[in-house]
Amino acid sequence: MAGGQERVLRRRIRSVQSTRKITKAMELIAASRIVRAQARIAANRPYRVGMERILRVTAAADPTAAKKLLGTPESPTQVGVLAVVGDRGLAGSYNSGVLRATERLVAEHIRNGAQVTLWTVGKKAPGYFRYRGIETERSFAGMADRPEFDDARLVASVVTAPFVAGEMDLVQMVSTRFISAGTQRVEVLQMLPLPLPDEADGDEGIDTLPSAGPGTVGYTEFEPEPEKLLAELAPRAAESEIFAALLEGSASFFTAQQRAMAAATDNADELVRTLTRVMNRARQDAITTEIMEIVGGAEALRQSKGA
């Protein structure tokens, strides 16, 4: 019966409209959190910049000690990978982008004959790797939305321990960098050993460092001596990097979620429009049919009377 179709469509439209209310609300919430997350990235910048400067100056002062803690190993055999994703979904490709990149990275290390230890941040990660039969050493949850420095400290203590103990020769981190409100990129970052500050320009590596950067002009005093200082600095620098990645990850998550939810809201609007049109046509058809039936019936009645 034609009226039945109309009822079904009406129900469907109502359901799409209530979904739209949810996606719209999520879009607005995500948008408001982006601002806060961005402000936290900005507040973290002086620390990050300062850490980098101190590290550069100290590394330049004691190249031999620096070589142990800085630089990229040629063919690592024990590798640690930290993947940073979100605690929640509904954020477009935010989680899957990092997870896929991590999977690729792990596969590559294994192909090269390395042992890989995997850590993850974010509730969305363990399930993904479990399904693919990749073992995760430890997963952290509940810190992706609003990361605190203590969270970064906890993660850092776990991921730096095997490196400091000499059981690991490379620690990498896969996370989403918040480049601007419009651009976020999944990146693999070498965390330990610390990448040389100017590795990109100097092929000869650490020996060219003393000339690197304006921060190394002249004589610098060290308390304690650079070697000790570097050993203290390396884990702190890793902490700082992880915290920055958590902050940028959370900003990227909200941006991705806002975008995904805006698209979902648009789709809901579009769907409501189409469904309304179909429903109106169905109703019109039903009315036309009904009129035809009445006219037909009246005609038949008159003919039977006249006969």
Partner: protein, 172 residues
């Protein structure tokens, strides 16, 4: 800018606590107490937990509880550039002192009742752990941290609370 003034900043990963011109900074590294005045040689060092005093250029004395970090005195050209927060840009400064600290509070921002409570809790915990260790620590719940780690953490918490109270000016 008057003579003897240099740029100083105290930053934590969460925020910038101090940024501006100062006439002296007093802190402690692992090798002893250190006062930084204008014209100090370039220096990189660690900062051990303790009180840090910053004499701002306008005469105010800031006191901070600093729970460990690093310090850099940078005299390279342009070092103090970009250090402009607070009371506007600071032209003509040749030295920049940067303190990078994980946790730090300004004296007036310290929550004294909270620190007092924290000290009590931590002191009790330290006492408990110490007595537990001497009298056989077999009553520890399964899966708890090893007693020495727990003890170190409790002692650190105690030290932090005491430092806060000292800097807030109400410590005994």
């Amino acid at each position: 800018m008057p003579d003897g003034v240099f740029g100083v900043e105290v930053v934590t990963p969460e925020q910038s606590l101090v940024a501006g011109g100062a006439s002296s900074v007093v802190l402690a590294t692992s090798e002893g107490a250190l006062t930084v005045l204008d014209g100090h040689t370039p220096l990189v060092g660690d900062v051990v937990p303790g009180q840090v005093k910053v004499d701002l250029a306008d005469g105010t004395l800031l006191r901070l509880a600093v729970h460990g970090g690093f310090v850099q005195v940078d005299t390279s050209p342009g070092a103090a550039e970009g250090l402009a927060e607070g009371d506007g840009p600071l032209p003509g400064l040749s030295t920049r002192v940067t303190l990078l600290v994980g946790i730090a509070e300004l004296s007036e921002e310290i929550d004294v009742p909270r620190a007092e409570r924290a000290r009590e809790v931590a002191a009790q915990r330290v006492a408990e752990l110490k007595s537990g260790r001497s009298g056989g620590a077999s009553d520890l719940p399964e899966g708890a941290e090893p007693p020495d780690v727990a003890l170190r953490e409790a002692e650190e918490a105690l030290a932090r609370a005491e430092l806060r109270l000292l800097v807030a000016g109400s410590g005994e």
